[in-house]
Amino acid sequence: MSTPMSTHAVHPVHSSEPLLSVRDLRVTFGRRGEQPFKAVDGISFDVRPGQTVGLVGESGCGKSVTSLAIMGLLPTRGNTVEGSAVFDGEDLLRLSPGQMRDRRGREIAMIFQDPLSSLNPVVQIGRQVTEVMERHQGLSRKEAMPKAAELLERVGIPDPKARLVNYPHQLSGGMRQRALIAMALACKPRLLIADEPTTALDVTIQAQILALLKELVVETGTALVMITHDLGVVAGLCDEVNVLYGGRIVERGDRHTLFSRPRHPYTVGLLNSIPRLDAPRGEALSPIPGSVADNLPWDSACAFAPRCPNALDVCVQQTPEWEGDDVVGLRCFNPMGVSR
């Protein structure tokens, strides 16, 4: 697959067919007899080839569960998944475990938050990188090893040949995440889901890893779903941004509009809690008051109402419906920039 640089512009070409189309995804935890918990409560979004889409929200809003559901990696018991996730014409949620296994690593790959615990501590890096090529490309380990070295070189690991025989604990945190990126991209998947890939890293390393990811998705034309709680990460990387709250998408837009004219009070709150270099000295950050523990159920209210500065009476009586489409939209009775 080669996507020319020009299609990966700030405003992606919306006319192309979506590569991944998630519709009304719902994940409910809890066995029979228990109070069910809706971790993901009707999420829909599209990812087009070569596009980078952000899923942003606080801890516990359902970002990881969304990605695991799409990947077919949720535990086999104790949850129900509803809705659809159509990838390349097939609904991933209806595939058999074996069919899904054939697609993971080859068509869709994922990288995780903690690079140390995501690597097998007792297997050498080289073998861990070749494993995915042996699995999907039918290569022998001998054939795959030189390719593994090339891959490690490509993701910026110095002296890659020597690293092949290292164990994970012998690498630095940044190197480990680079190795995991190499593994995820080894078979040139068309979609990469990155679940907070920089959260566990030092700030300087974070920037390097983000730059690498950006470079690689442009180079290979891989579509990227970037999951983060950090709007700063989104600002540098994503074409389209989805803001999640309590298992639902509350605002969507391209990153420029979202950053310059945020409309949902929660998006505004997130933006105000980013440290800014140009902020006047001494001005305190304003984190969003309260916590997700205060959430109301979406069924009969706006979940964000107890923490919302704009809340109206209607917000605790009715569910705000999604107004918009798969490119831009909002779920709010009293958005910012509208007279109160």
């Binding site: 690593g105 615990s117 494993e131 699995r135």
Partner: protein
């Protein structure tokens, strides 16, 4: 990720207490650091732990002694050089004399040589019983932990039933079922008793592995189930099994001695074994208590060595006692 097992409450059944000890060890493998550095950091603490060092010294000395015993022993353990000194009425057990520092047994065989060579049998029985117990537990535990579902339920039901019977009692029963007791029936009886311990332990650490990040990451790359189990889960789940194996060795040696003492082991006393020697010393406890004392002391010291080593290993790996 892994729930730390609760401290055992005051009133628990025997089976629950055993299960809790096993589960605590299993959870050690899932501790944040991962296998290699886990053992490394445990070793750093152990190196300065006198309890562990004493246990290690005893264990190493015992194994070394057992290996070279045939060359070290001054006499053939089956030969009867002091037969002429045995007087069934006045002097049934000849005492020490030149060339026989510990004297002889009731058949005129050199006691020191028999003790030395006896260490071999003790080690052999202990190691083989532990090995077979480990093997059985490995198969059952891997099956239960990796496959799950009704296989898991079935295996664990059997394991819990076996764990609820005191191990020596169970081993005794199994050994007594054999029509012709031999060294092998002894080994099999003791091995069988260890199977549920290893099975439960391995299942616990396999389950912890199944929920681990690196297994999730491997699954996210489409790695096949078999490779997940044998490359990504099993090697990382083995850490606590190694610790348990040293503890089981201690138990196996004591149990083997106990069963031989009761005549459930090798009946042929030309190949000495400490428990058997202890059993045969019974009629002479009054006149020659040393005949019982020496093999008993050997058993106690060796079992102590393994226990000290195993317990301090367990402690070093237990997330609850780690700072």
């Amino acid at each position: 990720m892994t729930p730390t097992p609760e401290l055992p409450p005051e009133r628990t059944t025997y089976a629950e207490r055993r299960s809790q000890r096993i589960d605590a060890l299993a959870s050690a493998s899932a501790a944040e650091e991962g296998g290699v550095s886990l053992i490394k950091s445990a070793w750093r603490r152990l190196r300065r732990n006198p309890v562990f060092l004493v246990g290690l010294a005893i264990t190493v000395a015992f194994i070394a002694l057992a290996l070279v015993a045939p060359w070290l022993a001054p006499w053939d353990p089956a030969a009867r050089p002091l037969l002429d000194d045995v007087r069934p009425q006045s002097n049934p057990v000849p005492g020490p004399e030149a060339g026989h520092p510990l004297g002889a047994d009731d058949k005129g065989r050199d006691l020191l040589s028999r003790l030395l060579v006896g260490s071999q049998q003790t080690l052999l029985v202990g190691v083989l019983a532990t090995f077979f117990g480990l093997l059985g537990g490995l198969v059952l535990g891997t099956l239960a932990g990796a496959v799950g579902g009704w296989i898991d339920s079935l295996v664990m039901r059997i394991v819990d039933v076996m764990l609820s019977i005191p191990s020596l009692l169970l081993a005794f029963t199994l050994a007594a079922l054999a029509t012709r007791p031999s060294q092998w029936t002894l080994i099999i009886a003791i091995a069988t008793v260890q199977v549920p311990i290893f099975a439960r332990l391995l299942r616990g650490s396999m389950l912890a592995q199944r929920a681990s990040d690196h297994v999730l990451a491997a699954r996210s790359l489409g790695v096949k189930q078999r490779a997940i189990v044998f490359r990504h889960m099993l090697p990382n789940a083995l850490g606590p099994v190694i610790v348990q194996a040293t503890l089981v060795l201690a138990v196996a040696i004591i149990d083997a001695a106990a069963l031989s003492f009761l005549g459930l082991g090798n009946p042929d006393d030309r190949r000495p074994e400490w428990g058997q020697m202890l059993g045969k010393a019974q009629p002479f406890l009054g006149e020659a208590p040393h005949l019982a004392f020496y093999p008993a002391a050997c058993i106690i010291v060796v079992a102590l060595g393994f226990t000290l080593m195993g317990e301090s290993l367990r402690e070093a790996l237990d997330p609850k006692t780690r700072r």
